[in-house]
Point group: C2
Chain length 166, copies 2
């Protein structure tokens, strides 16, 4: 569990899919059952979608994906299930600037740089934040969690364009 700069886990431990050829979807569903939860169609389809598509999807995008298979699943059910999966440590959500939160598997640890101009999102290893982490800890005893909120700014092309204008 070596963590960048010795940071501790915030929240519940991040869950990682089992190694080997076990189906990660079933593994998550087992986790749900072990908690006294029930495995419903919407949950099975949502978890499948999470492992299947791209990460950084909003609740709405996930709902659309789920509804291709199970059209009656309501958006509020998606929210409730994402909340449950987050409590289990299977998914995390991140805020990439304004707009809706995005969800991705907790096993994919990274921070985010988001361009304020063109909305480009760069996934960055947590190591990028190591120095900030050390500095915040040294000065304030503050332990940063660089995963939850993106760091905004300007991507290389937009920063260049701005610079020219002075």
């Amino acid at each position: 569990m070596a963590r960048t700069g010795g940071a501790k886990d915030a929240g519940s431990a991040a869950w990682a899919p089992p190694a080997g050829d076990d189906d990660p979807v079933e593994a998550v569903l087992d986790l749900l059952r072990a908690r006294g939860g029930r495995v419903t169609t919407s949950r099975r389809v949502l978890v499948t979608a999470l492992f299947g598509g791209e990460d950084h999807r909003t609740a709405e995008a996930l709902a659309r994906a789920v509804q291709e298979v199970a059209p009656d699943v309501h958006l509020s059910t998606i929210y409730r299930n994402l909340e449950e999966l987050e409590a289990l440590g299977v998914v995390v959500h991140a805020h990439l600037g304004h707009g809706p939160a995005t969800y991705h598997l907790a096993s994919e640890l990274h921070g985010h740089l988001v361009c304020e101009v063109c909305d480009a999102t760069i996934e960055v290893p947590l190591a990028v934040f190591a120095a900030l982490e050390a500095e915040a800890r040294r000065r304030y005893g503050f332990v940063i969690d660089p995963r939850h909120f993106a760091v905004l700014g300007r991507c290389s092309s937009c920063a260049g364009a701005t610079q020219e204008r002075g």
Copy 2:
């Protein structure tokens, strides 16, 4: 693609109150006039409130402050004026985690560390972000703007409490 709102004027240069004994409120109102804008009661009172009270106030808090002097000023007017003042570079807003945005004078440059547990907000000099800035620029050519979004995490006391639990 997922364009949330429009990319407005990403911000003129930060405006700083004139040195010397000029009234900074009048200086801002002059700025407004110079733009072809008009100086109304709500604007005068809002700008006065911005220079008078504490920083990091939400639109709602500012509305309450304004309404103590001018009770009829509507919240939507506050939003519209804050937007105008932001375009002029007089104020900036920051998102300190979930919840409403907070506004403060652009002349007060700093970043924010916000505790996810107890909501404590630490104003930090931008120097704290220097290493992250260098790293983001070196690796990705990305120029961070550490003022707009807070960096979340755990303050010293809440981090300590977590650590004990393991």
